[in-house]
């Protein structure tokens, strides 16, 4: 600190420079305020200060991120599976490493302020951030400071960030949505039904998806990517299904249907009961057919079994 409290700077072969002056107050406020400098900058002390050469400032950042591994090995290994690490290993040096998201000297606890998580991703994914900010989730987060809504890391995870364009990722979408939408404690207070997940999972698409997931690897790959939550509701641009946005959702629906059911007419989406249980007001035809069988099947079974028992009884008596 004797030196780094004063204006010093590092220079790189590329001509870039980095200030070596440490902001003491941000260091004291960080979660690492109990650590000493050489815990991270190992091999360095006031006595021993080897000269190191880096081609660019980015090279230095990438190399420094390796230091986190010594303590945070679990997180470090998780990032090895991420799309960011894949991009890095393919030569894209701009792919983010620990320091890019967490900072260096001023590392703070990340889960305190959820909006900050989204803001971190915004630095590279600005386009998606803007779309998310306008969605029902983003809007609640930024305008109402709602801490229940999902931020980027809730679906994409924080470290194991997978390529979201894969079939594998797509098939897990209902799991991600059901983390909140099947949890009464979270969505109940907004008047949202937790039945949405079950009604999807027990319908044609949900059942098909279930088997596609079981079949993976061993059996033939699915013919078409199965419709999941995001196909009708959107991904980053998820809108409310009630209120002024409802018509938008409905109009998008038929377009999505037509991706697989090419000749689907305009009223085709009506064949999906929109997560509602059939009732007298909603889908009365389905309700009545169901009701008739609910009565008829037990009556039939009891009748047949009684006939059989009577028949056996008579046979035994006659002998």
């Amino acid at each position: 600190m004797r030196c780094h409290g004063y204006p010093v700077k590092m220079t790189f072969r590329s001509g870039e420079a980095l200030s070596g002056t440490i902001n003491m107050s941000s260091l004291q406020a960080s979660v690492h305020n109990k650590l000493s400098c050489s815990d991270c900058h190992y091999g360095f002390s006031s006595e021993e200060h080897p000269k190191r050469h880096f081609a660019t400032r980015r090279d230095y950042t990438l190399a420094s991120s390796e230091n986190c591994r010594r303590c945070h090995f679990d997180k470090y290994t998780k990032t090895m599976e991420s799309i960011h690490h894949t991009m890095l290993s393919q030569g894209n040096l701009e792919a983010p490493v620990c320091i890019d998201c967490h900072g260096s000297h001023g590392i703070s606890h990340i889960s305190k302020e959820r909006a900050l998580i989204a803001k971190r991703c915004q630095r590279c994914h600005a386009g998606i951030y803007d779309i998310y900010a306008k969605s029902v989730h983003g809007n609640a987060l930024f305008n109402e400071n709602n801490q229940d809504v999902p931020v980027c890391a809730d679906c994409h995870t924080a470290h194991t960030i997978e390529d979201p364009r894969t079939l594998n990722y797509r098939e897990r979408v209902p799991d991600m949505c059901s983390n909140c939408h099947a949890n009464e404690a979270i969505v109940g207070k907004y008047g949202l039904s937790t039945a949405v997940v079950d009604s999807y999972l027990s319908d044609f698409h949900g059942v098909t998806l279930k088997f596609y997931r079981l079949q993976k690897g061993a059996l033939n790959k699915p013919a078409k990517p199965m419709a999941v939550c995001t196909d009708c509701h959107g991904i980053h641009n998820i809108n409310s299904t009630v209120g002024p946005d409802a018509t938008v959702v409905k109009a998008n629906l038929v377009k999505r249907c037509q991706k697989c059911h090419a000749e689907a007419p305009k009223n085709f989406p009506d064949s999906w009961l929109s997560h509602y249980k059939p009732s007298l007001t909603r889908a009365p035809l389905v309700f009545f057919v169901n009701l008739i069988y609910k009565i008829f099947i037990p009556v039939l079974v009891i009748g047949l079994v009684l006939q059989i028992l009577l028949h056996i009884w008579r046979y035994v008596v006659n002998r």
Partner: protein
């Protein structure tokens, strides 16, 4: 379709070989339809998952189910056409048609089982039990043929009909399938296998012959009719 010997010493010709083949075809297609269909309805059961995964996945199971459905529909249409031609042109007796006697037979037989009547009902070519089973399954199968086509081509159907038809057809198809399955699994299997009168198996549909003693007990009216009339007038099919 008269047989050389309809009534023999101790047995009676009951079904033509064509009927035996028809029955076997129904058995095979029905088993395929039940395995591939009910496993979709009860998809969360382990046995269903085992069936679906061993048949090559859900897409394959649906494909097999649909084509088994087409074959079954073809069998049903053939059966009805043969019956219609037989009744109209060959003057077969419409012996499967439910008459007033069948309803009184139900009451009579239940009274007999309970010990109120002294003798069971006198069955004709088909007893009331066989007739109700036949029509129960036939109407169920016709409904499933119709709803099966709707479910196969939902996008085409909704061009002409409201969207709600699709989930309604699904509910009807799966429930009616369960009804037909239960009729077969409970009633038919009991009557043809476990009933003490035929155990271990009622072989008449496979061999075409039924013993005279059973004929006398279960279809006395038909036997009486056969013995009075000349052979060529005796109907051999419904």
């Amino acid at each position: 379709m008269a047989f050389s010997t309809v009534i023999q010493e101790d047995r009676v010709r009951r079904f033509s070989p064509g009927r035996s083949v028809e029955h076997l075809a129904h058995v095979i297609t029905f088993v395929v339809l039940v395995c591939t269909g009910l496993s979709q309805r009860f998809y969360s059961l382990d046995i269903s998952q085992w069936i679906i995964l061993h048949l090559g996945g859900i897409d394959n199971v649906r494909l097999i189910h649909r084509f088994a459905g087409v074959i079954f529909s073809f069998e049903v249409i053939t059966h009805l056409t043969v019956a219609a031609i037989g009744i109209v042109y060959k003057k077969w007796q419409p012996s499967m048609v439910i008459t007033k006697k069948d309803f009184t037979d139900v009451v009579h037989n239940i009274r007999y089982y309970l010990g109120i009547e002294n003798s069971p009902t006198r069955g004709g070519r088909y007893t009331y039990k066989q007739k109700f089973e036949y029509w129960g399954i036939l109407t169920g199968v016709l409904m499933m043929m119709l709803t099966g086509v709707i479910l196969w081509f939902p996008a085409v159907v909704t061009k002409f009909l409201p969207g709600e038809i699709i989930p309604a057809a699904k509910v009807l198809h799966t429930n009616e399938a369960l009804v037909v399955f239960l009729i077969i699994a409970i009633w038919h299997v009991y009557s043809a296998i476990f009933s003490p009168e035929v155990f271990p198996l009622d072989t008449s549909i496979f061999t075409g012959y039924i013993s005279k003693s059973r004929m006398l007990r279960e279809h006395p009216d038909e036997l009486a009719e056969m013995e009075e009339k000349p052979l060529e007038d005796i109907p051999t099919s419904s």
